[in-house]
Symmetry: C2
Subunit: 121 residues, 2 copies
DNA sequence: ATAATAATAGTAATCATTACTGATAACGAT
DNA sequence: ATCGTTATCAGTAATGATTACTATTATTAT
């Protein structure tokens, strides 16, 4: 894969923030430094980065993909009211049933839903 | 909520199968008994049933929603090669961090990725 | 520096899902 | 049982996130 200024910028943006932005949010942020960057470029590179396991893709209920620059094994909590995504750093335990069934695991995505402390009042 | 023949049929179809069909698959199946049923009707009722927790909605990597008539607490395994969705009946353990953080949990969706026994050869 | 070609910007296309609209059907009240 | 209200429907149009396309630009091996 060749170097590109745009991909470097996109990677820096995702790695540099602690929220879980959508492609459009990353696009808006990237345009501040690279005003002519194309939304298609953002999408293409997000897919490349995700395929290379440089970032993580989250499929959420809002029908948009969210991206996470933290690739360490962890789960997420999504507030059903405000939509906030919170990192949970103690990952869930993988069910023993998986190895018993002879399945080969390469990854996991555990999302817990509910209300965050701000919204549960 | 009023009774409707279409919603009853849709519910029966989902509850009666063990796979995790998309809206279109349910639509195709429904048309066998109700040839004039509309795809919009299928989508609207799937959303109603999901809101009422009669069925579960799964956001997968294929960009289509999949539905599960089994609402018991369980996880899923998705084969990255053939796309097959396998039920895991021993649910993952909820991370202790959640209660410690004061978050109120209403649901969870844990998906494990990898290769099924058919595809791991 | 040059050639080969990966990557880009800008735009058009895709496609799952949702919204809309006039007709139909469920069902409580009469 | 009929009537009126209105939820639900069939059919179709619109939406919007994502992907595909194309001519141009930029990277990198030689």
């Amino acid at each position: 894969m060749r170097y590109s200024r745009q991909r470097e910028l996109i990677t820096e943006i995702i790695k540099g923030r602690k929220d879980h932005p959508t492609a459009d949010m990353i696009y808006q942020s990237a345009r501040e430094l690279e005003p002519n960057i194309s939304l298609g470029t953002v999408y293409r590179n997000l897919k490349l980065l995700s395929d290379d396991k440089v970032i993580i893709t989250l499929e959420t209920e809002d029908k948009r993909l969210h991206y996470d620059g933290d690739t360490s094994r962890h789960s997420h909590f999504i507030c059903s009211k405000c939509g906030k995504i919170i990192d949970l750093f103690k990952p869930s335990e993988t069910p023993s049933e998986i190895k018993e069934a002879g399945l080969f695991v390469t990854g996991e995505k555990c999302v817990y839903y509910g209300y965050c402390t701000d919204c549960n009042n």
